[in-house]
Symmetry: C7
Subunit: 94 residues, 7 copies
């Protein structure tokens, strides 16, 4: 089973292990909007979303910083995913 | 009797049994926005909705993850349905 | 006397009796948004409403499921009606 | 002295007497949005309002049902009027 | 010194004396939105305001009914003025 | 060091002394939205801001009345400035 | 590792030391919206963001005043960054 996102949505898998990496990324806790690093698992087709043309700019395998505030958590086959709109992705980590 | 949705609305039937399937989908509870897996029962015609062209991208029989937050529950002939806008459907499960 | 709705508004008459019909439609109570079944009594002309072209898709006599949340109740000649915008109608029951 | 409304505004005079007419219109009280029957006294020119073309669809002398929620009460020469936007008028009573 | 309003703004001078005129205009107090009669002192040039073309429809010397809700009071040379957007003016009194 | 505003932003310097001038401008205190007189120090280039064409209509040296509600205070070289959007400027004082 | 911002986003690095510089920039504390001086580290490509064409007007190395209100803090390789939308940048300091 796999998740095929609609429109401008992107399926992410959180990179939890890296939070403890020595020289890696550390994300400070925030009350309402918790930034997160994650890997892109699946990317929606984009196109016209809410009357506006959206071009997808992330690709499967990208490591990204996203704002968890409006994402939705889903468990599939005992794996946890987060589904966000591309506009909730702030930056790609290269 | 059957429900014929208007505009960009989609009639869903919740897949409750699968929540306990061993290697299936488990959906964690959330206070305000409870993601759900459901089967598509009927799909509106799309077209111009609130001044914006909407193309329907789900089909009858699709299994989908939706955000229950703005859906409406309806009982017809003792069956329960949920009517959502297509934009409340996050992903198709394949 | 009759009600002639403006713009994208629709005059409905609630089908209360059917709530107790054995194999009919039963609508669960909800705190803020109470879905309802009703018959269409009169349909506005549509056209440009709030700067957006609206095409009317329901007809007099249709049985519809609507979201009562933003409707307005009116009594005329001792009959009670509800006036809603077409976008508050979720589905036609056929 | 008379009121000449601007844009899509309409000057109404409430028909209070009819609330007690036997087979007339009875308007149930509502906490936040109180529907009302009134006669149209003056109609603005319409045109481009808030960037959107508005065509006036009510005429002086029409009896209308309006939603009082955003109207403004004004007293002129000891007569009370209500000024509403045309979009606050729900239906014409014929 | 004089006030030259920008965009769709209008400088008004409140007509306070008339509130006690016998057969004049009496404006009932309201908690949040207090309608007012005033004279137009200066009119902005209109044009494109917030991306929308606005044509000014009031002229210096007009007596108008406005909604005080979003106006701003200013004192210049010991005279008090109110600066409103034209869309806060409901009607001209003729 | 100087501030070069972006888009439709304007750098202002508050004219505090004039508040006590005998026949000058006196600005009454308001709880949420405090009108202010200020001198224009720098003007952004305008252009397309939030998808809308904005033409700058104030010039360096203008004395203006602005609504302080959404402005931002900045100190540079021990001078205090306020940065506002042009739409927060209500009128020019001439 | 480096952060590559998407759309109209800009990666900033706060200039904390300058807050204590004698004749430099001092930023007063505010409860909800805390203006900040920072250096631009990376600039997104701009383009169509939320259906609107955005042209990037800041460059790497610019010192800017921004409104921290909607920015997101991220730590990468023990360095702290802030990711903002370009519209949250008020002015360039030259």
């Amino acid at each position: 089973m796999k998740l095929v996102p609609l429109g401008d949505r992107v399926v992410l898998k959180q990179l939890e292990a890296e939070e403890t990496t020595k020289s890696g990324i550390v994300l400070p806790g925030q009350a309402q909007e918790k930034p997160q690093q994650a890997e892109v698992i699946a990317v929606g087709p984009g196109g016209v979303v809410d009357g506006k043309e959206v071009k997808m700019e992330v690709a499967v395998g990208d490591k990204v910083i996203y704002s968890k505030y409006s994402g939705t958590e889903v468990k599939l086959d005992n794996e946890e995913y987060i589904i966000v709109k591309q506009s909730d992705i702030l930056a790609i980590v290269k």
